[in-house]
């Protein structure tokens, strides 16, 4: 075979082994472990031994990395909007043409010079805060290049108005469960540590609520946990799936599926509690010891509260559409067997918590777990993802670890500190920019304390300027934020005097910029990282337990940057240099030298030299075996260091799990009372008058749902959960192989239409046949999809995945234009969950559906994205920008 070079990297689909031939990527593979890698853990349960396969896994997205790297829609050159005029006062720049106008190719010098001049002009005219910037999460992976690292370093040194992220994937848990069981520092999520071992030994029932683990894959954990769930299935554990969509895991694995009407899960929880309370089948001793104001809550459930409504299964049937008989059966199964339950991706996620009743549902689910003695063996909050045995003593920085960022110490000699206090809030950025005024509560991610949920923010901050320059870096919010037609309006406002987009691909928002800077992908630059590791003390700490193996990777450069793209680090250093602080920004280090800093400040040097690590490309630490536990016959170790999540609480001992708080050592939870609060004291303390997030969590009719006014006009409910065939918005537009999956998209007239799932009853009523183009619409917009007729949803529900990487309006740059890209987020409500809860609620969305015609135009709505098939075949062996010029230069350089 031709001489192949093998390097490694990481993407959101898992760790990559990359083969290159003569500087071109030949293939990407998972990592197959060799003899120098350690023995895996062995779980002995119910008479069998279970150990992970000696390879890592990749999701389908990981296997498209080559396709994504050479994609037709890569940003190839620096580009400047054709009708952009660099006026001295920032006005009259044809801002209203953003999204419509064409671009011309520019040199790096011209583009960077313009960006630096504009930063200087805007900051000296209006103040530092007039610049704002934001990134998506994980369009690349690695501790040098990640947003909390590189992006943070550049913009903190520059001084800018930070845009706080909302916890968009788990709103209800983030804003809800801290008021029931604490864990605000885990952003509302549970402790999954060592739950796999516990479940395999003890659990009899798994309740997968609003959870599609084969699709959401534990977050960043490829398909690692799929095999665990098959083991559990095969040992006879009963799987109950609760989700309005009989999801991809459920149709394969469920012993029972029930599909409550979207946004009514809280009522289901209350009815389960009703069964337990009336039948006396909950852990009374545990509740007496660890519950706060349970009796008042029980009165509410039994109908002795102010609403005088018993929350009977029949009451819940009316609301949820789930038969009372099924509710009772599930309640009894849960109470009579050792049961693990949780919601969504890692236990504290799921579409159900992204509805108006999301906090109620999340808090009630935790309340139910408490009623069954959460933390006792086999009974915990866990969903079959995360919680593999891990080496607790092996320290390597995770992506949100406070100690693992080039913006901070100890990685940087001089940490970067943002001098601007003003902030914006991502969900409502367009409202703030367009109206020039916005107020909200909360810090976005409130890991720092319950009080963070209630901080008051006003934009502009008194004495501060509005933002005038927007630097958008990586990915597209058109497919992840809500009512996203507003973003078009924002971009076309002259209030934004200058818009920069820095990205690897021309994403929907890239087409709205004045200057587009071409960044190279992960595969074209150096970085370092651990697969799935969010870090200690960061977001959902130690999420690498979602993997069967802990894998630290030297993310070597597989190929040279394609075309004129450059690494993000290079781009930021160049701008910093033009602003006069290039040396301070880089501290004299290149990317590899920064990567080496993360190696140095970790446990890796104890195991492997830098040279060996670079050469092998990855390192896998073994779980901590105790020599005494070695089986002399098999040579296998039977025990390792374990710190099972939440068991410390049930067993009333000091907390021994990672990322713990001082009060946990006193046996207390993170609530005000330190107990499970059935009536939330923190809500009574902070916002007792909130009508959405009430002290007693309970089902309430949504302001947009089956009983709201808009249901008369738009009687169907759109369910748009996290996608199976994309990650955030980072793959769908770029990796065209994904368009060939019939459950994902169908090509009509050259356009890949997103699949919308509708029940046969709905289809018949509307005269829709399989594969027909349908319009999903409401007062906010219209999206064309391809109809898939299926009994996996009930008639009232229409399912279409969120996070469409493609936003492809029929009329580009026109506010409210019909979208044929499947960006259903133009339909979802932009309104926050409540006045006191800055949460977005995509799954409270009423729509109607009609049969429609496909757009006859085969194009992608943007003339730089020409026929994908033709481009793909030509890119395949593309090597240099000079050669690319021969093919594309004429057209694009003009």
């Amino acid at each position: 075979m031709a001489k192949e070079r093998i390097t490694h990297s990481i993407c959101v689909g898992g760790p990559l082994t990359i083969h290159t031939v003569d500087g071109v990527i030949r293939r990407v593979r998972p990592i197959v472990l060799d003899d120098t890698d350690p023995q895996g853990w062995v779980i002995k349960a119910r008479g069998k031994e279970y150990t992970p396969q000696r390879k890592t896994t990749l999701s389908l997205l990981g296997f498209t990395e080559k396709d994504r790297t050479y994609a037709y829609d890569r940003v190839k050159y620096p580009m400047i909007r054709e009708d952009f005029v660099e006026t001295a006062d920032g006005q009259n720049r044809n801002a209203e043409n953003r999204g419509k106008s064409n671009y011309r190719r520019a040199s790096w010098d011209e583009a960077l010079g313009l960006v630096a001049r504009e930063i200087k002009r805007i900051q000296s005219t209006y103040g530092k805060e007039a610049v704002t910037a934001i990134t998506s999460s994980h369009h690349s992976w690695g501790l040098v290049g990640y947003k909390i690292s590189l992006f943070n370093r550049f913009f903190s040194m520059l001084g800018y108005t930070r845009i706080a992220d909302n916890p968009d994937s788990w709103e209800g848990f983030h804003w809800g469960t801290p008021h029931t069981y604490g864990y605000y520092w885990r952003l509302g999520g549970p402790e999954p540590f060592d739950m796999l071992h516990d479940a395999m030994k003890n659990t009899e029932t798994m309740i997968m609520w609003s959870h599609d683990p084969d699709t959401t894959r534990g977050g960043y954990s490829a398909q690692e946990s799929a095999l665990w769930r098959w083991w559990m299935k095969e040992m006879g554990i009963q799987f109950i799936y609760i989700d309005p969509f009989n999801n991809f895991s459920s149709v394969k694995q469920a012993d029972k599926w029930i599909g409550p009407r979207m946004g009514t899960d809280a009522a289901l929880c209350e009815a389960i509690a009703y069964v337990w309370i009336t039948e006396g089948t909950y852990d009374k001793e545990y509740i007496a010891k660890h519950g706060h104001r349970f009796d008042e809550w029980a009165d509410h459930i039994l109908g002795k509260g102010v609403d005088a409504t018993p929350k009977t299964p029949a009451w819940a049937e009316e609301i949820t559409g789930v038969k009372a008989a099924d509710i009772k059966a599930i309640a009894r199964r849960w109470a009579s067997t050792k049961t693990m339950a949780g919601s969504g991706m890692r236990g504290g996620f799921g579409g159900a918590c992204r509805t108006v009743g999301g906090t109620d549902y999340a808090r009630l689910l935790v309340s139910l777990l408490a009623m069954q003695g959460m933390g006792k063996p086999g009974q915990n909050m866990w969903t079959g993802t995360c919680g593999a045995p891990m080496n607790y003593n092996f320290w390597f920085g995770g992506y949100s670890d406070p100690l693992a960022s080039i913006a901070k110490s100890p990685i940087a000699d001089h940490p970067a500190v943002n001098s601007v206090q003003q902030t914006l809030y991502r969900t409502n950025l367009p409202d703030a920019v367009l109206d020039g005024h916005y107020e909200w509560l909360g810090e976005g991610f409130c890991g720092g304390g319950l009080d963070f949920e209630f901080t008051r923010h006003v934009y502009p901050m008194p004495g501060c300027s509005e933002v005038k320059m927007f630097w958008r870096y990586g990915g597209s919010f058109m497919g992840t934020m809500l009512d996203t037609n507003k973003w078009v309006k924002m971009y076309q406002s002259p209030k934004l005097e200058f818009v920069v987009n820095q990205d690897t691909h021309i994403n929907p928002e890239g087409r709205m910029a004045d200057v587009i800077l071409p960044a190279c992908t992960n595969l074209e630059r150096v970085d370092i990282g651990e697969v799935g590791n969010s870090g200690n003390g960061g977001y959902c700490s130690h999420s690498q337990t979602g993997n069967s193996w802990q894998v630290v990777v030297y993310q070597d450069k597989a190929i040279e940057p394609l075309w004129d793209s450059r690494s993000d680090f290079w781009i930021f250093s160049q701008v910093a240099a033009r602003l006069g602080w290039g040396e301070e920004f880089t501290e004299g280090r290149n990317e590899e030298e920064w990567a080496k800093r993360f190696y140095q400040f970790s446990d890796l040097p104890k195991h492997m030299s830098w040279e060996d690590f670079k050469k092998k490309g990855y390192f896998i630490p073994a779980v901590t075996f105790n020599e005494e536990n070695k089986d002399p016959k098999t040579g296998l170790y039977e025990k390792w260091d374990e710190h099972p999540g939440f068991q410390w609480f049930a067993e009333e001992r000091p907390c021994d799990t990672p990322n713990h708080k001082i009060f946990q050592e006193e046996g207390k939870l993170g609530t005000l009372t330190g107990k499970f609060e059935f009536v939330s004291e923190s809500m009574l303390y902070w916002e007792p008058d909130d009508e959405i997030r009430t002290p007693i969590a309970q089902y309430k009719d949504s302001w947009e749902g089956h009983k709201s006014v808009s249901a008369d006009k738009f009687p169907y409910q759109l369910m748009s959960p996290h996608p199976r065939f994309d990650y955030h918005t980072h793959y769908q537009q770029h990796a065209t192989w994904l368009w060939e999956i019939p459950q994902n998209r169908r090509l009509v007239n050259g356009n890949p239409y997103l699949v919308a799932r509708i029940n046969p009853v709905t289809a018949e009523k509307k005269g829709i046949k399989e594969g027909d183009i349908v319009a999903l619409f409401n007062g906010r917009g219209t999206v064309l999809c391809s109809a898939h007729i299926t009994r996996r949803v009930y008639p009232e529900t229409i399912h279409a995945y969120t996070s469409s990487g493609i936003y492809n309006p029929v009329e580009y740059g026109k506010y409210g234009s019909v979208d044929k890209g499947g960006c259903v987020n133009v339909l979802t409500p932009g309104r926050l969950m409540g006045d006191y809860i800055p949460a977005m609620v995509p799954n409270s969305c009423n729509i109607d559906i009609e049969k429609a015609e496909a757009d006859p135009n085969p194009g992608q709505g943007f003339e730089f994205i020409i026929d994908s098939l033709e481009m793909q075949s030509k890119f395949r062996c593309e090597k240099t920008s000079a050669e690319a010029d021969q093919i594309f230069g004429e057209k694009e350089a003009k």
Partner: protein, 163 residues
């Protein structure tokens, strides 16, 4: 003036003296370095609802009167925001374990500095039951690479806090 409130035992009415005695009992059992009236109210009294201003004032008075606690003015608590705080005068010498299990965060607070028996000063940014992550401190900044110290090791037991 008596205080009437609810807690798990039902509706309570306490004279100021009874309240003070109850608070004294609660703070005496408190192993923390810092507390506040709200913590006494929620965790100790297990009171229902946010306490009235008068009740808060009475609890604060009682904390000081209980002895061993010093009023230090408003401090931020993660659960309550910035409220009047009281520090434990006897914290340094208090036991840092419960039923034989270590209370490592009570001993080695995140971000604190400790001197080892070999004279080295350590800055401790990460504290877990099973290990601590430390950097050597040269008086102004940390130096060298990350070092792991087991909080239950003899070395850790011989360390002395540096203020």
């Amino acid at each position: 003036m008596n205080f009437t409130f609810r807690n798990p035992e039902g509706t309570q009415t306490m004279t100021p003296a009874q309240l003070a005695a109850k608070v004294k009992e609660i703070v005496a059992a408190c192993p923390s370095e810092i507390t506040c009236a709200y913590r006494v109210w929620y965790e100790g009294i297990e009171g229902y609802g946010r306490p009235t201003a008068a009740l808060v004032a009475a609890i604060e008075e009682a904390i000081v009167a209980a002895g061993g606690w010093t009023a230090v003015g408003p401090r931020r608590f993660e659960k309550y925001g910035a409220v009047n705080a009281f520090t434990n005068d006897n914290y340094a010498t208090a036991a840092k374990e419960k039923d034989g299990e270590p209370l490592v965060l009570h001993k080695f607070k995140t971000g604190s500095k400790w001197q080892g028996p070999d004279g080295k000063i350590w800055w401790i940014p990460v504290v877990e039951v099973f290990d601590m992550r430390c950097f050597e401190w040269d008086g102004e900044k940390y130096i060298g690479e990350m070092v792991e110290i087991n909080p239950n090791s003899d070395y850790a037991k011989a360390m002395v806090e540096v203020k």
